[in-house]
Symmetry: C2
Subunit: 403 residues, 2 copies
Amino acid sequence: MHRRRTVEQAMRAACARAGFGEVMTPTFEHADLFTLRSGQAVIDEMYAFRDKGDREMALRPEITASVIRFYVNEMSNLPKPLKLYYLGNCFRYENPQSGRFREFFQLGAELIGSKNPESDAEIIALAVNCVKASGLKDYVVRVGHIGILKSLVQAEIDDKKAAAEVLRMIDKEDFDAIGDMFDARAIPRKLFDRILAIAETRGGSEVLERLDKSEASDYLREIFVNLKLHGIDDCQVDLGIVRGLDYYTGMVFEIDAPCLGAEKQIMGGGSYTLSELFGGEPVFSTGFAIGIDRVMLALFKEQPEDEYSLVDAYVIPAKDDMREHAISMVAGLRSAGIRADVDLMRRSMSKNLKYASAIGARYAIIVGSKEMAEQSVTLRDMLSGDQRIIAIEQISEEITKLL
Amino acid sequence: MHRRRTVEQAMRAACARAGFGEVMTPTFEHADLFTLRSGQAVIDEMYAFRDKGDREMALRPEITASVIRFYVNEMSNLPKPLKLYYLGNCFRYENPQSGRFREFFQLGAELIGSKNPESDAEIIALAVNCVKASGLKDYVVRVGHIGILKSLVQAEIDDKKAAAEVLRMIDKEDFDAIGDMFDARAIPRKLFDRILAIAETRGGSEVLERLDKSEASDYLREIFVNLKLHGIDDCQVDLGIVRGLDYYTGMVFEIDAPCLGAEKQIMGGGSYTLSELFGGEPVFSTGFAIGIDRVMLALFKEQPEDEYSLVDAYVIPAKDDMREHAISMVAGLRSAGIRADVDLMRRSMSKNLKYASAIGARYAIIVGSKEMAEQSVTLRDMLSGDQRIIAIEQISEEITKLL
């Protein structure tokens, strides 16, 4: 929890530096909200239930839909662009496995009301800065543009359903299935080769030079120019990112932590329009969501848990008549900002030292009657075992110095 | 959200200084867990649902039961006492009203494995220090001992159900109902007078002197001695706190924010045993839960929201060819820890200044071509309207100094 909270705080700070304000939305909403965004298929993966008013509710599978609903209901008159972020738990009804929990946490951001390469780069930069802030060393940022493949597929395949199916297969990298479908429908093999060539366009920003000139490829080039201005120059191009969801409109991007293997994706995002689904005016948005649990898994793989102790100083009364002195002392240490604890079990000295060691207390302060008579206590370094006498009035200052 | 997160962080810090470690438990659990603790009646107030495996689940109405389940399953072998705290959302199915939301947040702590006045005082002190840390000025801490009334009622009324009913009526301060019941059952009026006298025992710690000597009253006196050692000397005695729940065993306490009126209670706690209900060995515990939403309501009553701006510096390119300079500049400001934003809408100067003012940006930085040629920008104080030219390399340092 300590490490997780530290990571969350670092990500929040990155959002705040970029001028994003935090919002919070309810843990469950009308199930419609999520099916409107993600399609009926999401129902099977949701924790849906009827409440006592017989309304179909669902524990949120993601938070973007709630933020946009919130925007449509309460914030649509605020000056644009609106920069919002959130950190909350989400739920999916699937067999749990490593990196796919039934309850999981996402930190995400939405930039609402502007559509241009600067805005998309701003969102990518924020996602990268959040991941950096977590302390993760090894991650890969891949940026694509859904318009390049989408416009090709939609222009060449008239049947809308078939076109959508092809995009889904591209997203799953199931090119054999595309080949089979093309053969069955007698779609020319040439289109297949062009799709494959684009979907396999991956590499450093230099591959952008090889792309045919189009609105989408120009836009993507501009994003990469802007990312450089943000000090981010290690993003990969990946035109194979398509995403099954219909609502992505242009830039799409993902971050992976390769050490996680099959479940390596720790972030997904892109530009989209969604508000009109919830009854709002159409508005361009761009955003992302980071899977905090996966980031934590990756961090633990990169660097196993450090020893973490909850207590800087553990105060031990040498005898029962020193108990009250010990309690006032621990209150004083806490007021000075030291994480301090005191014997609450009326234990013997040796049992107290054993407990202090078990909880990893850095120092023990032994309150004995002889020392107390001289306004002193014994300060014991629990790592080295060294002990020395120290004046009571200096104890907070001394421990603060030592920590 | 900013104020809420600040309050949460301050409370977390108070828990950490007292040597408590944070735990997190799932948002929903088997409904049994909560009915075991709180009785079947709680079902009507819970968001309960059957999952796809036909299990009766419930969104948690409180978090103590989950923490104790966690303790029984995973932590029962850890050295005692265990000091745990949590911060999370809970749910109740009631008509929402001010201070009673369907989704609400609690910060709570449990001290597991020790039963003595020092431990109870430690928990009371932590609750008080959390409330203090929130910045709330006007609050009342009331401490009682359930044993004083409970032992009297149980000793004098043989019928267990009737005794429990009397305790429930005391908790609701419905003394008329007790009178009626006593009349109906021909219970002597004398007992009623004794119950009333105890239930109405309220006041400063001096009222403790008036109590008959008993195990419970001695224990309560010791708690007040210990609270003084913690630097807490403004707690009230209130022997009328009983709580309907069967599982409280001794000390009980509450904190009120009087400005909230009818829903003034912002914290409830006491000592209890619970683990045996979940299949664990019996273990004494003492804990509390603070209602964060009510604390926030009270804080806003005491001090209306301060102006809060998300942006320290808003960077405006004077012309389109200054856009890239503006974006690198904002990236530099953010790296220096400044909350900075930049025009993402390609707006005119006047519209940008209007937007900067609307979002409450403290400073605007205008990037013009003439100034850029001299490696300078214009720094505008958005409150006073004062402008001055400043060297680019000094901009982060200068703004940090000004903030």
